[in-house]
Symmetry: C2
Subunit: 124 residues, 2 copies
């Protein structure tokens, strides 16, 4: 299993879900998951999804520019994923640049969940 391919597939799934059915992001977090969104710290699936679904824009589209990944330990199967891209809001003319990192951990079912998630807009 190529880690770069896994990371890219995860990232595409994550933002596609974010842009079309944000509440379903709940499937990608667990109760020990942490999100830091523009400096605000949030923990647990329910709180994270509440935050993401209450952002002050309903329609948006993430366009990925780069995806980098590395294994997060010699063993254990986790990986860190670093994304840069553009966030296009429905009501805004200009896209916002963002960077985001995920620390993905394997699940017993053979997929991954987000343990760490840090999001920042890159103001021009």
């Amino acid at each position: 299993m190529d880690p770069d391919a896994v990371a890219k597939a995860f990232v595409e799934h994550y933002y596609s879900t974010f842009d079309t059915n944000r509440v379903s992001l709940a499937n990608l977090y667990q109760d020990n998951s942490m999100l830091t969104f523009e400096g605000q710290k949030i923990q647990g699936t329910q709180n994270i999804v509440a935050k993401l679904t209450s952002l002050p824009f309903q329609r948006c589209k993430h366009v990925i520019t780069t995806v980098d990944c590395q294994p997060s330990a010699p063993t254990g199967g986790g990986m860190v994923v670093f994304v840069s891209g553009n966030l296009q809001l429905a009501d805004e003319q200009h896209a916002l640049k963002f960077s985001q990192m995920f620390h993905l951990m394997p699940t017993p079912q053979g997929s991954f969940y987000v343990l760490n998630d840090i999001f920042r807009l890159n103001y021009a």
Copy 2:
């Protein structure tokens, strides 16, 4: 020990070392450390320092805009640190925006080393 204070101190030390004595960054990596620099993957202290000291600019200054951190596991003492900032090159009028993530792991001596390091410029 406040994790945010530790992360901030690490980040200030890292960029201060980068800007004044780049070769000393060797002290912050180990042989299992990974760096992805603008998409190029490099492993091990020696290779990482060789990369960082051979960048096509000798004098630079990192100005930190944001530092976010989270514990990278319930136990173990690791932390993920996410930085955004500006990179001012000596010969360039405009600063470059960058984002970088570190996954820090504790050492037996009570400090931290960089296990994962991913760097990206954010082109405007």
